[in-house]
């Protein structure tokens, strides 16, 4: 059995709730910086969509929409599962929580697998960024910019999904050992927040990249 929650209290905090509050605030600030990271790419997208609206729509129609849409449902469900994991951890059901996190991890893996399949299809069809664009119907600056943004944004997002999966795996192991309770659930809550951010970013990426035309 792990140490009681009170053992987690650091000496510079008055109480465990205050420590948890500080941890959550720190996580929100970090998530805000992650949003700003993607924000730069969204600004580039906005600028070039404004300039090349028709080319963006045409290029978007050539993306593999069924994979993008399936991935949306996969990520939304994984968010639910991870939120449930936090809920169960708070109620002291560590093993159930770890199982839910494992399901979330499986869904994340499904997301990455589908993404890899989609990238393979894109490469085969010649939907490549910048001057590598070699599609039989698409050509020109607007389409190349759209595809560059598509590759950059989805690749950066996939890196974040991978990092999120690592975080979830780490937290799942702690949860399985029964570390979490109503008083101490900080690691699993913060890890879940990172995963939800990954889902949040995809919520915006999906309509802007796949549903344009």
């Amino acid at each position: 059995m792990s140490a009681p929650a009170s053992a987690r209290l650091q000496q510079h905090f008055e109480s465990l709730p205050k420590q948890a509050h500080a941890a959550r605030l720190g996580m929100w600030i970090f998530l805000a910086t992650e949003l700003l990271l993607f924000g730069g790419l969204f600004v580039a997208y906005a600028a070039y969509r404004y300039l090349y609206a028709a080319e963006f729509a045409r290029a978007s129609r050539h993306l593999v929409t069924w994979i993008g849409t399936t991935n949306t449902f996969v990520l939304l469900t994984s968010s639910l599962v991870v939120a449930l994991a936090v809920h169960f951890a708070r109620h002291g059901r560590g093993r159930l929580s770890a199982t839910m996190l494992a399901v979330g991890l499986g869904l994340g893996l499904a997301f990455l697998g589908l993404k890899a399949l989609e990238y393979a299809i894109d490469v085969r069809e010649g939907l490549l960024p910048v001057r590598f664009l070699a599609h039989r119907e698409l050509s020109g600056g607007g389409a190349a910019v759209f595809l560059s943004l598509y590759w950059l944004m989805t690749a950066l997002h996939a890196v974040h999904v991978t990092i999120g999966m690592g975080v979830l795996a780490f937290v799942a192991r702690l949860s399985w050992r029964g570390v979490f309770s109503a008083e101490y659930d900080t690691p699993i809550e913060l890890g879940a927040m990172y995963w939800h951010l990954v889902d949040l970013i995809w919520i915006f990426l999906w309509p802007l990249l796949y549903l344009v035309g």
Binding site: S15, P17, K18, A20, H21, R24, L25, W28, I29, L31, A32, T33, L35, L36, G39, F42, V43, A46, A47, Y50, L51, Y52, A53, A54, T69, T72, F73, L76, T77, S79, L80, V82, A83, L84, H87, R90, G140, G141, G142, A182, E189, A192, M193, H196, L197, D199, L200, I203, F204, W206, P207, L208, L211, V212
Partner: protein
Amino acid sequence: MGVAQQEHEASARIGLAHYVAAWGALLALALASFLLSRAGLPEPWSLIVALVIAAVKAALVLLIFMHLWAHRGASRLALGVATTFIVALILLTIADLATRFPIANPPESPRARARLESLPPPPWTPEPNQEPDRQPHYRNP
């Protein structure tokens, strides 16, 4: 009772039913977004509809899954500030592009192309060079 304690108790009130209901709403909104994109709305509206639905989905994820509904104090501020500045950055960049002289835009973009094609033809066109091998004249050789 401090902020931290309030937060802790408010977090506990978000329960199983809330998560599942939020998930259902998210799936429904995703489906709506997909169907509306296929409905062929005219251009500014299709983007606005997509962004509004995405914003509602984002709000659901933030408030319920990430417990922002329960979190108090500066946590909400951090997110609000980041969002405000991203929106400002996007709007100001687009305003920059929208108020440029058209040919200051990339040459292939529709705005620049429209301007270039709307120009009247030049008053004279230079004669084609009849003797391409001839050396050019210089005043002071």
